[in-house]
C-alpha cells in the first residue's frame, strides 16, 4: 500500500499542536420549555486565547453547558457565531473534543479500543501508530495496566481518566469539559486536578471547563467567568493569578474561591425568585 502524502507517524502525531483561539460573538439560544420559552443565553460574547484555560461558573440552568455545546458544534445558536481560529463553527469536529459529566465510554469496546475510537477516524495513521498513540495517552492518565479491561470494571475516577485519554488522543486543539469531575469523590477529584494541569501544560490545549464548583474553577482556570441565569449572561470575570501547578488546598486559592462565591451569592440574591406555590 502506498502512503498518502499527508501520512504521519505516531511521533509526529504526538507533537503538541497549536491550540485554538476561540471567538464567541453575540451568541443567543432559547429553549421551549413547558413553562414557556427560556432564554438560556443572551448575546454572550467571549474570547479565549490560544492555550488558555477558561472556567465557566454559575448556578444550574445559567446556560454555561449550552454555551459549551454550541462551541462544540453539537447545538446551533439562534443567533451569533462561534469562530475557532477564524473559522466559523457549523458542526462538531474533532479539533474540539468534549468531555461530559458522564464518562460516556462505549461499553461494547474495551479501554484501549475506546481510546482508539477517535484515532481510527484519522486515516493518515497506520494501525501500529494508532496503537502507539493510544497507549501513550493511557500511560499519561496512568491506566496502562487496564487497556484490556471492560469499561464497567473501572471505578468512576478511572472511567473519567479513560474519557480524558479518549478526548486527548486525536490531538484536538480545544478541549471542552462539561463538569467532568462532578460525579467523582473528593479524593479522586483532587488527584485529577493535578493530572489535568500537568496534561494541559504538557499538551498545550485551549480548555473551556464548565463547573458549578468555584474552588475547582479557581484551581484550574487562568480566568473564571461567572454566569448569571435567566437570561444566561457573563456577569463577572476573575483572573486567577497563581503559579501552577496549583494545589486545590492552597490558602490563596481559597481567597479567590471566596470572592467568586460571594459574587455568585449576590447573583442569587438579586435574581427574582419564582413564587413558591
Amino acid at each position: 500500500m502506498t502512503r498518502p502524502h499527508d501520512y504521519s507517524t505516531a511521533k509526529e502525531e504526538l507533537q503538541p499542536i497549536a491550540p485554538s483561539k476561540l471567538v464567541i460573538e453575540n451568541v443567543s439560544k432559547s429553549f421551549r420549555a413547558s413553562s414557556g420559552t427560556v432564554l438560556a443565553l443572551d448575546r454572550v460574547s467571549l474570547n479565549v486565547a490560544e492555550g488558555e484555560f477558561v472556567c465557566l461558573v454559575g448556578a444550574s440552568g445559567c446556560g454555561k453547558s449550552t454555551l459549551l455545546s454550541i462551541i462544540a458544534g453539537l447545538e446551533k445558536p439562534d443567533s451569533g457565531t462561534v469562530f475557532a481560529d477564524g473559522k466559523r463553527v457549523s458542526g462538531p469536529g474533532r479539533e474540539r473534543l468534549v468531555m461530559f459529566q458522564e464518562p460516556a465510554l462505549f461499553p461494547w469496546l474495551n479501554v484501549l479500543s475506546n481510546v482508539l475510537f477517535g484515532l481510527n477516524l484519522k486515516h493518515n495513521l497506520s494501525r501500529k501508530d494508532r496503537l502507539d498513540v493510544a497507549r501513550y495517552y493511557l500511560e499519561l492518565v496512568g491506566l496502562t495496566r487496564f487497556e484490556r479491561a471492560n469499561t464497567h470494571e473501572l471505578s468512576g475516577g478511572m472511567k473519567q481518566r479513560v474519557a480524558l485519554a479518549r478526548a486527548l488522543a486525536p490531538n484536538p486543539r480545544v478541549l471542552l469539559m462539561d463538569e467532568p469531575f462532578a460525579a467523582l469523590d473528593a479524593l479522586t477529584r483532587d488527584q485529577l486536578y493535578g493530572d489535568l494541569q500537568k496534561i494541559w501544560q504538557a499538551r498545550r490545549k485551549t480548555i473551556v471547563f464548565v463547573t458549578h464548583n468555584v474552588r475547582e474553577a479557581a484551581c484550574l482556570g487562568d480566568r473564571v467567568l461567572l454566569f448569571s441565569p435567566h437570561p444566561g449572561r457573563i456577569q463577572e470575570e476573575f483572573v486567577i493569578d497563581l503559579p501552577r501547578p496549583r494545589d486545590i488546598n492552597r490558602i490563596d486559592l481559597a481567597e479567590y474561591a471566596n470572592r467568586i462565591s460571594t459574587a455568585l451569592k449576590d447573583i442569587g440574591r438579586t435574581e427574582r425568585k419564582p413564587a413558591l406555590v
Partner: protein, 255 residues
C-alpha cells in the same frame, strides 16, 4: 462439576419416574411407551438414516428462513428506528403481525404457495421477521444519546456512526430479538411441517405427524425429544456464548 452432577441426577430421576409409570401401567402402553422403546426407535431411525435426513431437511428450512428473516428484519428495524414515517407504517404493521401466532400463516401459505418449500419458507420468515424488526427498532431507540454525541465530537457520522456506534450499542436488544426470532421460527416451522405434507422432503414435524397417524407413540415421543435437544443445543452453542460475552462486556450480570 457439582452443577453437572445435580443436573444428571435430575434427568436420571425423571427417566426413572417415566419407567416406573410405564411399569405401574398408569396409562395404556399404547399411550405411554417405555423409555427403552423410545430409545430403540431412535436407534433404528438413526441407523436407517431417517432421523439424520429429517433433521437436515428441517434445519435447512429453518436456517434459510431464519437468515432471510434476519437479513430483512435488521434493515427494516433500522429504518423504523430512523424515520418516524417508517415507524408509523412498517413499525405498526410489525407490531401487529408479531402478535399473530405463526401457525396462523399456514393456511395462507398453503393457498398461496401450495404444498411446496416456498410455503415452508414463507411461514418461517413470517415467524422471524417481525420480532427482529421490533427488537432492532427498540435497540436503536434505546441507545443513550450521549454515545452519539461523544462519537459525533470525535468525527463520527453517517455510515460510521451506524456501524460503529448505533449497531453495537443496540446489540443486547438485537441479540434478544434474534433469540426470540429463532424461537418463533422453530415453532412456526414445526407447525408448518405438521400441517403440510410436501414431497420435497420429510422434516421432523412430518415424522411427528406420521407417528401420530400410525399411533406409534415411541416415534412421537422420540421425535419430540430430538426437537427439544436441537433447541437446547442451538441455545447452548450459539446464543449462550454471545449472551455471556454481552453480559461480561456490558457488566449487566455476573453470570
Amino acid at each position: 462439576m457439582k452443577r453437572f452432577i445435580l443436573a444428571a441426577l435430575f434427568f436420571g430421576l425423571m427417566l426413572l419416574a417415566w419407567e416406573w409409570a410405564y411399569r405401574a401401567k398408569l396409562w395404556s402402553p399404547v399411550l405411554l411407551p417405555a423409555p427403552g422403546q423410545v430409545a430403540v426407535y431412535l436407534k433404528e431411525a438413526a441407523a436407517d438414516g431417517t432421523l439424520a435426513h429429517a433433521t437436515i431437511i428441517t434445519m435447512r428450512r429453518l436456517l434459510v428462513g431464519y437468515l432471510v428473516g434476519l437479513i430483512g428484519g435488521l434493515p427494516l428495524g433500522l429504518l423504523t428506528a430512523r424515520w418516524n414515517v417508517a415507524r408509523d407504517t412498517i413499525g405498526t404493521m410489525a407490531l401487529g403481525l408479531q402478535t399473530l401466532p405463526s401457525v396462523c400463516w399456514v393456511p395462507l401459505a398453503l393457498l398461496w404457495f401450495g404444498q411446496s418449500e416456498a410455503a415452508m419458507l414463507f411461514v418461517v420468515v413470517m415467524g422471524t421477521l417481525w420480532s427482529v424488526v421490533i427488537a432492532t427498532e427498540t435497540g436503536v431507540r434505546n441507545v443513550p444519546p450521549i454515545y452519539r454525541r461523544a462519537a459525533m465530537t470525535m468525527g463520527s457520522k453517517g455510515l460510521h456512526m451506524w456501524l460503529k456506534v448505533v449497531l453495537p450499542a443496540s446489540l443486547p436488544f438485537i441479540v434478544s430479538g434474534m433469540k426470540q426470532g429463532w424461537a418463533f421460527a422453530w415453532r412456526s416451522l414445526m407447525a408448518a411441517e405438521i400441517f403440510v405434507t410436501i414431497l420435497t422432503g420429510f422434516g421432523l414435524g412430518q415424522l411427528l405427524h406420521y407417528g401420530r397417524e400410525l399411533s406409534a407413540m415411541e416415534q412421537v415421543i422420540g421425535i419430540m425429544l430430538i426437537i427439544v435437544v436441537i433447541g437446547l443445543l442451538v441455545d447452548k452453542i450459539f446464543f449462550s456464548p454471545v449472551e455471556t460475552f454481552l453480559h461480561r462486556r456490558w457488566g449487566t450480570s455476573n453470570a
